[in-house]
């Protein structure tokens, strides 16, 4: 046990179903958002339910911030109501017979350590639900219900927040309405958040760490940028493959409707970020299909963003595509090009190249 960091979440579970087996051994960071990503049936929700104690695995060990919640070798199993966690369900699962306020107070009243009135006011304010408190769930929209559900979980002052596809049941408009609140949650909370999703969009927008599950097994786990660009990870393949860049706004060109941002790999231009003053941190999503490669820096090109890079990995798929992992000053970036181009340019691991990034491709 000595090698286990007190600040991490250590989850090891074995659970056999008739059609698949969950077998995980994960060390997750004690802060930030960890996305549990996978397709339906990959076991991501089952993993979350095991952590919550809602599902009892055949064998398991779970330690959160230095406290053992579960250890099947010693017969330790804290029932769900004794685990200091917050859980946000896919369907909000608010109690229909109680108002939003009473839903929030339900857990607050029962928890040994819960938010006081001032802290609750801050939570209500952060989620923008002050005007909804006296309504019953049937009078709330899906997005509002989900925000009340998040407030209900946060009012418990949990040691870890578990979120099971909180946006999956919402339409695109409601998702856009609730995502800013989740980003705020991410910035303002000091507790680890485990976030189950099947949406690469939500992963790139919210996660710091990424765990990719397939058929009950962990196929990749690590910091977001690293894990997204692992060529053997399912997320690096397909049209949605993308990279996340953490950048800082360093200038504006309103006359061209552009802004400049900088990161370790250089300076990028992107569509004008009116709301972001110089110095603001931004998170950019760059699709692999929008990154192309040249051997020489083109002098006359319409592409604004051309940055020097090294090839650190290459993989071919069965559809004539080559996935290339680039290194831009220590920052990984994915590029999808045709296999033909890769051959014609003689690209290999270690080749110094220039990455051309379409500015409009950046979120």
């Amino acid at each position: 046990m000595s090698e286990i960091n007190q600040d991490t979440l250590h989850a090891r579970f074995q659970l056999a179903f008739s059609d698949f087996t969950l077998a995980t051994d994960l060390q997750l960071p004690g802060r930030g958002v960890t996305a549990l990503f996978g397709h339906s049936g990959s076991g991501k929700t089952t993993l979350l339910r095991c952590i919550a104690g809602l599902q009892r695995p055949d064998s398991g060990f779970l330690q959160v911030r230095g406290q053992v919640w579960q250890d099947s070798t010693k017969g330790v199993f804290l029932p769900t109501h004794q685990r200091p966690l917050g859980y946000v369900f896919q369907e909000a699962s608010l109690f229909p017979h109680l108002t939003a306020r009473k839903n929030i107070d339900y857990g607050r009243k029962r928890a040994t350590q819960s938010a006081n009135d001032a802290e609750l006011a801050a939570i209500v304010d952060m989620l923008g639900i002050g005007h909804l408190l006296d309504k019953i769930p049937a009078q709330l929209s899906g997005g509002e219900r989900q925000r009340v559900g998040i407030a209900r979980a946060l009012a418990l002052k949990p040691q870890v927040l578990l979120m099971d596809e909180p946006l999956a049941a919402l339409d695109l408009k409601r998702k856009q309405e609730i995502l800013p609140f989740l980003e705020r949650l991410h910035r303002e909370l000091d507790i680890p958040i485990l976030y189950v999703t099947h949406s690469p969009q939500e992963v790139t927008q919210l996660a710091d760490h990424l765990v990719v599950l397939e058929a009950g097994k962990v196929v990749a786990s690590g910091a977001l940028a690293e894990t997204l660009t692992r060529l053997d990870s399912p997320m690096a393949q397909g049209k949605q493959a993308s990279t996340v860049l953490q950048v800082q706004v360093c200038g504006h060109e309103p006359e061209f409707h552009l802004s400049q941002v900088q990161f370790a790999g250089g300076v990028l231009s992107l569509p004008y970020q009116q709301a972001a003053v110089v110095g603001t941190a931004l998170r950019l999503r760059v699709y692999a299909r929008d990154v192309s490669i040249t051997l020489q820096q083109a002098k006359q090109t319409s592409i604004l963003n051309v940055l020097p890079a090294d090839i650190t990995g290459m993989a071919h798929d069965r559809e004539g595509r080559t996935m290339i992992r680039l290194n831009l000053g220590g920052v990984p970036l994915l590029a999808h090009i045709t296999q033909k181009s890769a051959v014609q340019l003689g690209l290999q691991k270690g080749t110094p190249v220039f990455a051309q990034i379409k500015a409009t491709a950046i979120l």
Binding site: L54, Y87, F95, R110
Partner: protein, 234 residues
């Protein structure tokens, strides 16, 4: 005939029967709620093999003639039956032809009418809400009382009304177990029978008509209330 016309609408004997009926039905309903709720929860949740046989046993009084039920209860509670010997050895005497015996018989007789509505309500309960309650630090029993019970309220209302009304309406079991002892076991349905036997049709009319009106109002109440408080979808 002149004598009857002078009498009030309901005699002292009629009022006694009404009071006894009310007492019997209330007590039976209360006991059934206490027994029926855990039984209904178990039947709604269990996936074990005994679910079907247990459900069938609970439902038996719906299809059996009350005389059959009464006959076997009479035998088991009588001096030679197992329950009769137990009560006798405890110094309680035997239960047939007492009010307590009538209550026990009524509990069996009305069991399905209380268990089934509650069971239906528990079966439609979204178990995710119980999980949500547990993530909000509610112990299982706490979650049951604070979430499952309020959500199942329409089912409980139906169960109370049906259990009460069905007990009021019983006749065969009463005759078999309770007999016809004034102030002890002579309930309204038996009193009506007595009136008819004695050709006191006017008296019988007041009680019988009263039963019709009572039953109609009770059912009307049930259908109206249950429409009014139907739970919103989560």
């Amino acid at each position: 005939m002149r004598l009857y016309q002078c009498q009030p609408m309901l005699s002292a004997g009629d009022w006694s029967a009404i009071w006894l009926t009310f007492k019997l039905a209330s007590l039976t309903t209360l006991i059934l709620l206490l027994i029926g709720t855990p039984l209904a929860w178990h039947l709604a949740r269990t996936r074990r093999w005994w679910k079907a046989p247990l459900s069938a046993v609970v439902a038996l009084p719906i299809v059996l003639p009350p005389t059959v039920l009464g006959f076997y209860l009479l035998i088991t509670m009588g001096p030679k039956g197992p329950i009769g010997q137990l009560t006798a050895s405890l110094g309680l005497g035997t239960l047939p032809f007492t009010f307590s015996g009538l209550v026990i018989a009524s509990v069996f007789y009305s069991l399905p009418f209380v268990v089934q509505p509650i069971q239906n309500a528990f079966e439609t309960l979204d178990m995710r809400l119980m999980e949500a309650a547990s993530t909000l630090r509610a112990k299982p029993l706490d979650a049951f009382f604070s979430v499952a019970l309020p959500m199942a309220r329409p089912g409980f209302l139906t169960a109370c009304i049906l259990g009460f009304a069905h007990t009021v309406g019983e006749f065969g079991v009463v005759l078999m177990i309770g007999g016809n002892i004034p102030d002890k076991t002579r309930v309204v349905s038996v009193q009506i029978y007595d009136h008819v036997e004695s050709m006191e049709y006017a008296q019988a009319h007041w009680l019988a008509g009263g039963m019709v009106v009572f039953s109609f109002i009770v059912l009307l109440l049930m259908y109206t209330l249950n429409r009014g408080i139907r739970m919103p979808k989560p």
